[in-house]
Structure formats: C-alpha cells, structure tokens
C-alpha cells in the first residue's frame, strides 16, 4: 500500500462502509424505519405504489380497478398499481419479495397471516398511522383491531369481515309445513325445525367435517358453549375442553339422530341446499354472491344459539404495510392515504360477499338498501370471534380440522378426536414459539 492514491481509495472505501453500516443500524433501531409514517393526506413528492391482493374471483376483479382508478384520479401525487394474484401465490412470494426489497408497498392479508408476517419482521408497525388516520378501535367491530396486533404493536388495519350465517332454503321449509319467516333462533326452535323436516323425510342440516363449513361451525359452537380454541397466550390448545366436546357432539348427533346423512363431502351441504335436498347450512357471508344459490328461494339468518351464549365464527382481512428492504418511507405514507380512502369508499365491497370493516360504512343505511341479504351477518358482528392471532397459527388450526373430520366421519369419538388434535396443536404451538418467538 505504498501508492498514496490506493491508500486514499482504501480509506474512502472503509469510511463508506462504516457510514453505510451506521445507516443500517440507525435504520433498524429508529422509529422511522419500522413504522409507517402517519399521514392521512399524503403531501410528499409524486410516488408510484404497488398494491398486492388475492382478489381474483367474483366481483372484485372489476371493482378493484375501478376504485384504484378513482383514487388515482383524485390524488395527482400518488399512482397505485394493483396486482391481483391467488392468495396461495401471495403467501409464497411476498415474504421473499419483501426481503429482496421487491415487495408491494401495501397488501391485503387474512387475519391469521398478519402475526406470522409480523413475527418475521416483514411488516411495518401501523400504530402511528392508525392515530394519524384517526382510527380508534371503536371504528371497527369489537375485537377486530386486536386481530391485527402482535407483540404489543398494531400491524394490520382492518378492511373486511366475513362471518358465518345460517342459510335457509325456504321452499324446503314449506315442503315440511314450516313457515320460512319464523326462523329458529335457539337450540329448542332449531331442533323443532329439524324434527319437523325429519318427519317430512328431509335431513335438515347436512353436517360435514371439512374447512369452510364443518370447521367453522365447530368453532362457533365451541364459543357458544363457553370454550375457546387456545389459552390466552396461545401456548396450549384448549378446544378439547368440555365445551369443545359438547360442541362436536352436537354436530355428530346431527348424523346420529338422522338430521344429517353420514359421510357428507366438502361443499356437499351447500350444494344440497341449492338442490333443494336440505333446509339449513351454516356457511360464510361469501355464499350470498354464489350464483347457483340465486336460482333458489333462499334467505340467511344469524346462526342459532345452540350453546349457552351467542357467538359466531368470522374471518377478517387487513391492510398490511410490508417492510421492504430499503423501502421508501414516502411510499408507505402514500399507501396509508390510499388505505384510508379505500376504507372510506368501501361500501360496494359488499358486492364481493364480504362486509366492509369500517363501522361508518356499514352503518350507512345505503349499504343495506343495496345489499339487503347482508342484514343477518351485520347483526352478528357484536358477538363475532375472529381468527387467533399468533405466528404460524394455521398449522395448529389444520389440526382442528383433522379432529373435526375424524369425528364427523365416525373414525373417533368427539372426545378422542379433539384430544388427539389438541395434543398435536399444542406441540405445533410449541414449535411456533421456538421459531417465531413472541
């Protein structure tokens, strides 16, 4: 290193490296880098922001571009580019894209994904932005803000909710001499209706053991009987409690007592309701937009209260702000403005078979005037339970479905099925804790 030019170059290189390292460390410890800057109306330089979502079916592929175009027209300094792909593709691509600095600036994810992403350091905190946008927990249904929190910080901003309801084929009720306008609301009236249907040779509720209906019905009943899926800090599965066994036994009894055929396949129940072979189906609000259903005389009501308290399963979706490597704070601030605008203009989201999360939008009488079928679902939100917030929770939830499936197909008694599933789920929770912490 005798050459002075070389020596100078080396010094510059070392200094540069030190400076960039310092920038890195200040970046990761500072407030600015791990949070979204709170700005309800972005006023920075012109930015392009990318938005990923899994809305590839139903009404969304037309509605989303329309909303995005409206937003872009009214916000000259922000251009949103929407990118729709399958949910499964998003969950595979997004984590790696974020780490490479190529992820979206804003995305929509399911309630059971937010904590998983957050625990991996893939999301920006949204506490500041929630304040700046003027959101409070009371702006959304009870418990929904908490569904986007992990480890004491807010990571999600609510977008939509999708509770279960009781779908009814009115013609089938009439065949059994029942008045379709007097809906069953509790265990007694529900059993009375099932008995009347049985007397008319109709199996009133086809009960299955698969995701979308059986698993969600089980969870609703579990909460109705006073139980819960996991303990408070989500370290142990508790769905094999007395309440859980009671809930699952109620479902297997539907088969035992002849209210349901045995061995119902996935989606068999909604198809049977559409085909006029059964009267009731516990299913999600998304079925309100099922085209085949529209050919029948149907209605939906809140799920009856079978247990000791009112409760219903619901999932939710949330806005997330990815922590892209070398992300531009202006972009996430602009994205926050976009999120606020979308929530304020989410009334037509009901056309996709989901309920807008923002109370002010849902409570506007115009919503029910346009989408009257949603009334029973809105009604239930005050006692809806959302997905468990814990990183990696989907693997433990898969164990619940396996347990419900084994009991509904008569492979195990409800108690044995739930005990086995709970043991598995607890072991998986332990693995999650070891890997994700939190």
């Amino acid at each position: 290193m005798k050459n002075p030019t070389l020596r100078a170059l080396a010094a510059v290189a070392i200094l540069g490296l030190g400076a960039s390292l310092a920038a890195c460390s200040s970046g990761s410890s500072g407030d600015a880098a791990d949070s979204v800057r709170g700005e309800s109306d972005y006023s920075g330089p012109e930015v392009d922001i990318t938005f990923w979502n899994g809305w590839t079916g139903g009404a969304a592929p037309k509605l989303v571009p329309k909303l995005v175009a409206e937003f872009n027209d009214s916000h000259p300094n922000i251009t949103v580019k929407s990118n729709a792909m399958e949910w499964a593709d998003i969950s595979q691509k997004m984590p790696l894209a974020i780490k490479a600095g190529k992820g979206p600036d804003v995305a929509v994810g399911h309630g059971d994904d937010v904590a998983t992403y957050a625990a991996q350091g893939l999301l920006l905190k949204t506490d500041d932005v929630v304040d700046a946008l003027g959101y409070a927990a009371t702006d959304f249904p009870d418990g929904l803000m908490e569904a986007g929190q992990f480890d004491g910080s807010q990571y999600g901003v609510p977008w939509s909710v999708t509770p279960l309801g009781l779908y009814i084929n009115k013609d089938v009720l009439r065949t059994a001499g029942l008045d379709p306008e007097t809906a069953p609301t509790d265990q007694k009236s529900y059993l009375a209706a099932l008995d009347a249907l049985k007397a008319a040779g109709i199996q009133g509720e086809w009960a299955d053991g698969y995701v979308f209906t059986g698993t969600f019905e089980f969870q609703s009943l579990l909460w109705q009987f006073g139980g819960d899926l996991f303990n408070d800090d989500v370290t142990e599965a508790t769905f094999n409690s007395e309440a859980g066994v009671e809930a699952l036994t109620w479902m297997t009894d539907l088969i035992e007592n002849g209210y349901s055929p045995a061995n119902v396949a996935q989606d068999g129940n909604i198809n049977a309701l559409i085909g006029g072979q059964t009267a009731f189906n516990w299913n999600g609000v998304w079925q309100t937009t099922n085209e085949a259903l529209q050919s029948t005389d149907w209605t939906a009501i809140p799920v009856p209260q079978i247990g000791t308290e009112k409760a219903v399963w619901s999932s939710s979706t949330h806005w997330m702000f990815p922590a892209n490597k070398n992300g531009d704070p202006d972009k996430s601030a602009a994205a926050a403005t976009f999120v606020k605008w979308m929530n304020d203009n989410s009334a037509d989201w009901a056309s996709t078979g989901e309920l807008p999360a923002q109370n002010s939008v849902r409570e506007d009488p115009a919503l029910l005037a346009n989408y009257p079928a949603l009334a029973p679902f809105l009604e239930q939100l005050e006692y809806a339970h959302y997905e468990t917030v814990s990183p990696g929770i989907t693997s433990a939830m898969a164990a619940v479905t396996t347990g419900v499936n084994e009991a509904m197909l008569g492979k195990k008694s409800p108690k044995d099925a739930l005990d086995d599933a709970a043991k598995k789920a607890t072991a998986l929770l332990k693995q999650n804790k070891a890997q994700y912490g939190g």
């Binding site: 595979q92 984590p95 790696l96 991996q120 893939l122 086809w206 053991g209 698969y210 055929p261 045995a262 061995n263 119902v264 396949a265 996935q266 068999g268 198809n271 049977a272 085909g275 072979q277 990696g392 989907t394 693997s395 898969a398 396996t402 499936n405 084994e406 197909l409 492979k411 195990k412 072991a427 998986l428 693995q431 890997q435 994700y436």
Partner: protein, 317 residues
Amino acid sequence: MADSSTALVNRTRSRGGTRPRAAAAGRRSVTAYLFLAPFLIIFAVFVLFPAVYGAWISLHVWNPLIDNRPFVGLQNFIDLFTPDSLTFEDFWESMRATGIFVVGSVPLLLAIPLLVATLLNRKIKGGTVFRAVFFAPYVLGVAVISVLWRYLLDPQLGAVNAVLGLLGLPSDTPWTVDVPWAWISLIGITVWWTLGLNTVILLAGLKGINPDLYEAASLDGAGGWQKFTHVTLPGLRPVMTFVVTITLLSSANMFGQSYLITQGAPGTQTRTAIMYIADQGLGQNQMGAATAMSYVLFAILAAVSVLNFRLQRDNTK
C-alpha cells in the same frame, strides 16, 4: 442412422493408424458434448444443485422466512425414526398412504395397458380410434379430472351413486370421504386417467417384436397363451422395465388426486407422502424436516427401482 453407420465404417477403416481415429473421436465427442450441454446445464441448475442444497437444508431447522436457521445435524432424520416426535406419526402415515396407492395402482397400470395394447395390436377396424379414446383422458390436467370425479363420486349428490341406486345397489357408498372406498376411487381414477400412456408405450413395444417369431412359434405348435408368455413378454422386456419404473415413480409421487378429491380425509389417512412433505415445507415452512423426509422417500424409491432392474434383468443371455 446413416451417420452412425458411416462412423462405424470409418472406425473399421482407420484401425491401422491411431492418430486420425483419435482426432475424429475427439471431434465427435466435442460435438456430442455441445449438444448435451444445454440439458446438462438445466440438469445441474434444477436437479443437481437443489438436491445437494436440499441435503444441506435437511441438517437445519430451516424456516425460509426466518434468518435464524440453526444447524441440528441429523436431528430431522432422527425425528423421523423417533415415535414421539412431531413428524414421526404423520410422516409414516403418509408413507403408508403412498404405499397403499402404489401397491393398488401399479399392477393395474401394467396389466390393463398390456391387455389393451395386445388388443389394439391386432389389425382391428377402428384401431386408431380406440387408441385415441384410451389415450384421451391423459391429456387432461389433474385439476380437471379431480373436479370432474369429485362431482361424479359425491356420496349423496353424485351421479355414480345415483346410477348404482337405480340398479338396486347400495347408493350411499362414501366414495370420496371414507376408506377403503376413497382408495378405490383414487386408484380407479388414476388408472382411467393414465393408462393411455402405458398403453401407447407398450403398443410401440409390441410392434417392435419380429412377426417371424410368432410364425415360428405357431409352426412349433404354440397356442395363443404360449405365444404371449414365450414371445410377447420376453420381447417386451426392455420396454416393460421402463414402463414399470416410470409407473412406480409416478404412483409414488401421487399428490394432486388426494389433495383435490379427498383432501387427505378421513382425518389424514389418504394424505400421501408428497402431500405431507409439501405441507411441511411450503405450508408450514419447515424446510429442514421436509427435505429430510424427501431424502428418506428418495432412498426407498431408489431401493425399489434397483430391485426392479435386478428382477427384470434378462437372465437368458
């Protein structure tokens, strides 16, 4: 063909001098390697490298989303052979599912195509039409055939049970939700779907058998069955080895049918090894455990393939 015979002639002629032969051989090798290079590169990038990298991954708790990926040595493998571990029961249940499917499907995927190919090999009217008919399902994707059969085989609403009911047979068979019927469905659907491929390969093999051999056998007084066992089967031996191998491997890799038709139910009894490995690696992000399982599956398949080659070796030569 012409080229290789010229080469043969060249080689014979140049036996005297070594130098021109070596040069020509070198040139030929270079040309061959050049043509093989694109494949070799793709093989190295997409097969060889992932296989070696997978072995490295299998020695870690490897969650691709988390930076901390501790080295655990052979723990992932030990877990697979330790009855109380998180993966033991599920993994071997899935291996059992794959085993049931292989044992159930492979014999049918050999016998039926052989029968069909023998029939098609006779000079019958409309032979090409039948060949197309048998091959047709194979061009459909797994998603298409799975959705199709899930509708047809639905226990309560499906056409199959409806028809069985009309014939006075039991009309509530749980074709897609309970074992053993789910296995019958999965194997039946797979045989219907893929038998065309084996049929076409075996048919080509049959056409390659010298007709003189049949004539000679006839002159020796051989009947139809004797011709089949003494001329057809030995003549098909090399083709058969190939067909057995690819059928074994593709059956052992079954994933889509279970995933889409039974969702692994009842419980997880029809969840195949590949389905469980995919869930571990891609669903639950346990890449270390998933790659370890892949290696165990690979070892078993390799052993079965070696056994197959041994058994089918021509002992008459």
